[in-house]
């Protein structure tokens, strides 16, 4: 077990790179997978080295989700593709009300990729998974020819178990429900954009990349009546809310001045002409809860690391069904639509 001393266990030198042989099904591949991946993730299911892992579950319902990660740059302030690949899938399970249990990890690696970088990523996945309490129980490695990939892509699939019977769903949303978000928005998207484009600001913007399963479990354990949840990744806060409310005959009315955007993030958005409401997050979720549970939920959130800056941003109403509306500081209300494609920096 290498958990206390996570240096690359394989006798590769630090400039050694992935070759086609590492995907060839032979000794090179076995050596890479065994010493770099299996020894790091190290758990009873993976160590069986079967074609599939046999996993125990305690309840009769599971949550099952998958996500692929193609982020560039692969290392960015506040995280890397490895931590993101675990967190992304864990959070998808968590906002369904499930407790994440098992994760698969499939790597598509471009020929020429530094083995040391692969190990950094694998280590980061392990550490993130350990923190959350999920195990990476199966996986796959493929190597593609130079020029046919972008360094590394990772797919993770996750299984979660339910310890609640009354699952969150948009069908449970009702008039008067409170809309709560667990902190500031737009950090991940701007951190990645700044790193990718070499944009320099006075202070480095760090991604908000963070697992949400611990705090969501706490909220559920304390009996908060969470009617629906969404993690706010691509498309940001607006896409999350629109997606949910379109499935109902109700509307969300949120207040712009309740939404917290850090100064440096706001500044970067202003310079590039981007709206933080649409910028990606990786550690933020919005929950729509029974109005009577608002104070209790906020108290629990405020006592946690991932919810320190949690705030109620609005509520569910009957008017304008299927829409998200935002009230600005002038008291003017406007509609929020999902964006078409990516936000693009403006000319001037």
């Amino acid at each position: 077990m290498k958990s206390n001393n996570l240096t690359c266990p394989i006798p590769f030198n630090e400039n050694e790179r992935i070759t086609m042989a590492h995907g060839g099904g032979g000794k090179a591949m076995q050596k890479l997978i065994d010493s770099c991946i299996i020894e790091t993730f190290d758990n009873q299911y993976l160590n069986e080295k079967n074609d599939s892992s046999v996993l125990p579950i305690t309840n009769n319902k599971i949550a099952f989700t998958t996500d692929s990660f193609v982020i560039k740059p692969i290392f960015f302030p506040g995280g890397d593709i490895g931590s993101l690949a675990v967190i992304g899938t864990v959070n998808d399970l968590a906002v369904s009300g499930a407790e994440p249990r098992y994760i698969s990890a499939a790597f598509i690696i471009e020929e020429g990729f530094l083995i040391n970088d692969l190990f950094r990523i694998v280590k980061s996945m392990y550490e993130t998974a350990r923190k959350v309490g999920v195990e990476i129980v199966t996986g796959d490695t493929k190597v593609v020819e130079k020029g046919h990939g972008d360094g590394i892509y990772i797919n993770t699939t996750g299984i979660g178990e339910f310890n609640i019977t009354d699952l969150p769903s948009s069908k449970k949303i009702q008039e008067g429900d409170k809309i709560i978000i667990n902190g500031d928005i737009a950090r991940h998207g701007m951190a990645v954009m700044a790193a990718r484009e070499g944009l320099e600001f006075e202070s480095t913007i760090e991604s908000d990349c963070e697992e949400l399963s611990t705090i969501i479990k706490k909220l559920l354990d304390e009996g908060i009546r969470i009617h629906c949840m969404r993690d706010l990744t691509r498309g940001g806060l607006v896409s999350g809310l629109v997606e949910v409310i379109q499935q109902t005959n109700l509307s969300c009315i949120i207040e712009e001045n309740k939404i917290f955007v850090k100064d440096e993030v706001n500044a970067a958005c202003e310079i590039l002409g981007l709206d933080p409401l649409y910028v990606a997050n990786e550690g933020k979720f919005v929950m729509i809860i029974h109005q009577d549970d608002e104070n209790k939920a906020l108290k629990i959130l405020h006592e946690s690391n991932s919810g320190k800056h949690a705030v109620t941003i609005g509520q569910v109403a009957k008017t304008n069904p299927g829409n998200v509306l935002i009230k600005n500081f002038l008291g003017v209300t406007r509609y929020l639509e999902m964006i078409n494609g990516e936000q693009l920096p403006r000319i001037c």
Partner: protein, 364 residues
């Protein structure tokens, strides 16, 4: 955030809307020139907090919107060529030419890149000596200095694999076209603060005098716009027609002399076609003769490109302030940001996109 928060101060904004209500005695029609201002007005709902006698028309100051279809087609033709890295500001990529857009050209495997400055494109040129790097030099006076600087540096360093496709336009001739039109309804202008940051506002003084319209150089934040409207209404009510500067934190009368120098060194004034409006004499910039080797339209043979605008699109009338987006039959129906008929729906600064994104189609 400094320079932002103080201009989004509710009390200060309402102080000015109250002042406007006190002095206004009739309906007045104002035009905000710049798409950035249009965006602010619609996003913050400033037209809804101003007295109803203030009618705001949206002007032609959206660089993406006024770039002629022919030049977008020309860009597409160049971007498709072998060995070319085509660089552009992001919002030009989605603009449809007559048959495709730059995003699709990129998707088809051509090297099209979003950059944040023409100087970044120049860096790409230095890194890729075997490729030809073309920058899509679109915009008003605001972006001209950086584009001029890129060409100037390319000439200085003999970077011979770099060129720009120029579609630069100038604000004052467009205002004169609007004012000179028989259909003109504009009684005062909010001039574009960032254009004037570069150019100053000397050239607006004869316009204000000739057409008897107040011109207020105005910023982009909600407070700027409301204060700019107040200054317009005050002059209109007093029968004055002067050029005033609301955006004093950025604009001086003489502008940024260093920036203007580099523009004059590299560019000269030419007639340009404005999408939806037509050719306007002396309304654009082109590279001077000694910089012709950096002119992508000469470096690449793109043939002659003749295109037709979609018949249902009234973006020309919108750009001139004659119509507003909801008055278009196609608005929100056959035309939306997913499938724009005209450029005013494409750019986030375009009036149609602003209305579409922030209001429902049925709202005026």
């Amino acid at each position: 955030m400094k320079y932002i928060d103080e201009y989004r101060n509710r009390d200060e904004i309402f102080k000015y809307t109250d002042e406007i209500s006190k002095i206004i005695t009739q309906e007045w029609t104002l035009m905000e020139v710049c798409g950035g201002q249009t965006h602010s007005i619609v996003k913050y709902g400033l037209d809804q907090v101003l007295p109803s006698q203030v009618n705001l028309l949206h002007g032609p100051g959206c660089p993406v919107c006024v770039t002629p279809l022919e030049i977008i087609d020309q860009a597409i033709t160049i971007a498709k060529k072998e060995n070319v890295i085509f660089c552009s500001f992001g919002d030009m990529l989605r603009v449809p030419g007559s048959y495709t857009d730059l995003f699709s050209v990129k998707a088809a495997g051509n090297d099209v890149r979003i950059v944040y400055s023409p100087l970044d494109a120049l860096k790409i040129a230095k890194k890729n000596p075997a490729k030809k790097i073309v920058f899509f030099a679109v915009g008003f006076e605001t972006t001209a200095p950086a584009n001029a600087m890129a060409v100037y540096q390319a000439a200085l360093n003999k970077t011979d694999n770099f060129s720009i496709l120029v579609s630069h336009v100038l604000v004052p001739p467009a205002l004169e076209t609007i004012l000179g039109s028989k259909k003109n309804m504009v009684q005062a202008f909010l001039a574009a603060g960032h254009v004037c940051t570069i150019m100053g506002y000397q050239e607006y003084i004869p316009l204000a005098k000739k057409y008897k319209v107040p011109i207020i150089v105005t910023g982009f934040e909600p407070f700027d716009i409301v204060q700019g409207v107040y200054l317009c209404i005050k002059q209109l009510e007093e029968g004055k027609f002067e050029v005033e500067n609301q955006y004093i934190r950025s604009v001086t009368k003489d502008g940024n002399v260093t920036a203007m120098d580099i523009v004059n060194k590299v560019f000269e004034i030419t007639t340009r076609k404005w999408r939806g409006i037509g050719a306007i004499t002396s309304s654009g910039l082109k590279l001077r003769n000694q910089f012709q080797e950096f002119d992508a339209s000469l470096v690449f043979d793109t043939g002659s490109i003749i295109v037709k605008e979609p018949e249902d699109c009234i973006s020309g009338l919108i750009l001139q302030g004659i119509k507003k987006p909801p008055q278009c039959n196609a608005f929100g129906k056959t035309c939306n940001p997913d499938k724009p008929l005209g450029a005013t729906m494409v750019s986030s600064e375009g009036a149609c996109a602003a209305y579409f994104n922030y209001r429902k189609p049925e709202e005026p």
